[in-house]
Amino acid sequence: MEILPTSGKALDAEVERAVAACYQCGKCSAGCPMAEAMDLLPNRLLRLVQLGRIDKAAAAEAPWLCVSCQTCTTRCPQSVDCAAVLDALRQIAVGRGLVPRRQQRTLLFQQAFLESIRRYGRVHEVELIGRFKTRALLGDLNVPLFFKDALLAPRLYRRGKLHLTGETVRDRDLVARIFARCRAEPETT
């Protein structure tokens, strides 16, 4: 399935088309490692999309619990790309401000991740985690305290696994241009 980050209704139509074949067997939900934690099971998200209630599906917590393990997509008898539908629901939720408060931290992390790429072309782990945790704390989100990771740092450092600076690509402007063309400036909070 091809989901393009186009605006509102066009993406809705893409997603609706993608789930048209779903016959609600629930195999996606049956195999989902996160099913127990989800407020709405994947098959119900797909059903809501089929009924045109995309906003309700996008406002659920479940899409943010998805770990993108592709089990649903792999086993779907109707070849619905369920994981991609959940990706699209996340994008719709971000676009419409529907991300549930409890799931903001996942969004924050992924935004911080993209921002790191935009700046350096590669991920700077230390900066990424720092940025994520700071923002999460500022946003008063339920995130384990910073010092827990700080405790991990020396252990990583001892193993030569901690890089305070991280790598940077030569052509950073190019990366910025790619991001601009994909219209994906991570929103700064």
Partner: protein, 279 residues
């Protein structure tokens, strides 16, 4: 034999023990790695979660670099990276308009022609028989639980690798080297992948299930071919122990670690000493 190499951020970051292992092991097999010049991050799950176009553009840029530099094959030891590259390849294949659009976005023409290989495939390429001949010691003390996780085999339409429900490729390789892989239930279950930081509790729960089943089946180590699996099962094992009050002390090897050990490399040369759980 020399092939293109796309390390990805993890192998140049906190999973550099994986890179050490892959390089040492492949070098012992006379497989040279030529690192892709000025590669970009593949975007990982953040890109396909938040911006579909970016999730094609970033790997497309890397595919384009490989094409520009004449690399027909590209090893991506991280399945998140290889998955992203393969997804982009699939999207570009047979869609001239997308190829054109992407070419403009990434400022390089791209066809998506480079073949993307995971670590297991490199070993298969090198030849299991040849590896067996070069082995200087048997792995008979090892009863590994081979852990494929999600992205090595899924979704099968994209990865086209092994049987996604009952994979055998790691077992075949390690059995050939004398190891006795155990049969267990969690070979293709998910460990939480890149959610380590964002959703730690999820990762601990999933890692706990995996470690417990491996232990229950009599495995004395786990074998992975993914940096995220390693982080969640090795680095986080202490947290699992604390949370669930069960200390498995399960050593988690990269596949290249065990192959390297069979080839006579030292644990230090393979970076095994830098794991969190050590013997």
């Amino acid at each position: 034999m020399e092939i293109g190499y796309y390390p990805g951020c993890a192998l140049h970051g906190s999973s550099n023990d994986y890179e050490t292992s892959v390089r040492a092991c492949l070098s012992a097999l006379d497989v040279g790695l030529k690192e892709l010049d000025d590669w970009l991050c593949c975007g990982a799950s953040a890109a396909h979660s938040l911006n579909h176009k970016l999730s094609v553009a970033l790997p497309a840029r890397n595919l384009a670099l490989a094409e520009r530099d004449g690399m027909a094959e590209l090893l991506a030891p991280c399945p998140m990276c290889s998955g992203a590259l393969l997804r982009a390849k699939a999207a570009l294949h047979g869609d001239a308009r997308l190829r054109e659009e992407m070419g403009e976005i990434i400022e390089l023409p791209v066809a998506g022609s480079a073949e993307v290989l995971n670590l297991v495939q490199i070993f298969e390429r090198a030849g299991i028989e040849r590896i067996r001949e070069r082995a200087v010691r048997t792995l008979e003390d090892y009863r590994p639980a081979c852990y494929y996780g999600c992205l090595l085999t899924r979704p099968p339409q994209t990865t086209r690798f092994d049987d996604c429900e009952q994979p055998r490729s790691m077992e075949s390789l390690l059995s050939a080297l004398g190891a006795e892989p155990v049969d267990w239930a969690f070979r293709t279950e998910c460990c939480g992948a890149g959610m380590t930081v964002a959703r730690e509790e999820t990762v601990l729960e999933l890692a706990h299930r995996i470690l417990s089943d491996a232990a229950a089946r009599g495995a004395n180590c786990l074998v992975v071919a993914c940096p995220m699996c390693h982080v969640n099962l090795d680095m986080k094992q202490a947290d699992v122990a604390r949370r669930f009050a069960v200390n498995h002390q399960m050593i988690v090897y990269y596949l290249s670690d065990l192959v390297g050990l069979a080839l006579g490399l030292s644990p230090e040369a393979l970076g095994v000493d830098r794991h969190f759980v050590v013997r």
